[in-house]
Amino acid sequence: MRQSRLLMRGSLAFAGLVVLAGSGCAHDTAVAARSGIATGRYAIRNADRNNGDQYAPEQLAAARSKLIEAELALDDGYLTSAIRLAEEATVEAQLVKAIAARDEARAQRAEAKKVKQDASELRTMTTEAAEERMQ
């Protein structure tokens, strides 16, 4: 009888510990979800600021709606879903920013090539004109 009471107390304590540990975990997960969403929001703002809307508007919109999904999942308590969605939204926004940087670099390259061609043409023309005048 005494033994069984002891056992009961022991198991109650254990159950309490489990609950505590579980809630601690849930708390950590909620924090992770919130910080994941904050990271995603930052990445989207960053992509937007770097002309992502101009170079990859559809992909930026997709990242935005994924972040909203993450926020909804967090509100409904689906914490791991929220973390995954936020993670995906983040990397999608990073890709948008990278695409904007790549397309801008591409345009700059084309422009620089034109400038170079103009400069070399001008040099040739000037040299020829100077030589002609010297003769």
Partner: protein, 270 residues
Amino acid sequence: MRDRLNQRTSGRWDAICLAAIATVVLVMGCKSLDPTSFELARAAVAAAKNDANVAQRDSLHMEDAERHLALAEKELDDNGKQRVLDHEAYMAATHAEVARVLGEASRDEAAASAYLRKARRDTAGTGRVIESAVLRARALEAEQTERGLELTLGGVLFEFDSAELKPEANLTLAKVAGFLIALEQRAVLVEGYTDDRGAEDYNIDLSKRRAESVRALLIENQVGADRIIADGLGPAFPVASNDTAVGRQKNRRVQIVILEPGLPAVGARR
């Protein structure tokens, strides 16, 4: 009787349990994860790793790609959840794509600055061609040195032992002034030199006064005063031997240095 009934019932339960376990095992065994997303992600990561442009930009996205790929592989090996596998595979593939796109960006940036470097070189070359054409048109002799374009004005500019310019110097300096005005971006250093006859202190002072006279006349000819610095160096830096009259004549001179664009006059003083 009751025992036997119990036995029979428990025997039936055993059978049911066994069947249930067998079904679960069978279902789990059959329903292994679809590895398609993982295979695609692995190919994407490998392609990004082999991409020559990727190595030049940040490796952070490649690290993330590999980390997520490992997580996807673990999920696949553990026969975990399809949703988790697909998520990790998607993360790996997208990070690899970011790395690849950034690699392309840095390649194009490098190409753009290479073009601009060549353009600047050609523009500078054009500038030199124009300068020398103008110089020839104005009948001025100039030499390109590392400080810039150096014009040497011979000793006939001044009376003996005087800092006063001869009237003939006016025309020469007017030509120089026109040239300096055309090169309005560039600072100018006017340096006076003497031969080695006489006291050095006196010579330095004389060369300084002569340089100041040249500077004053250039300013009179509309060259900006803040562009020009005058300096007297006396017998230093001779361009010919002081043992002959011809050599000494060459050493008595004023040099006008038109500095390279962006070079301040103060920094180029000898």
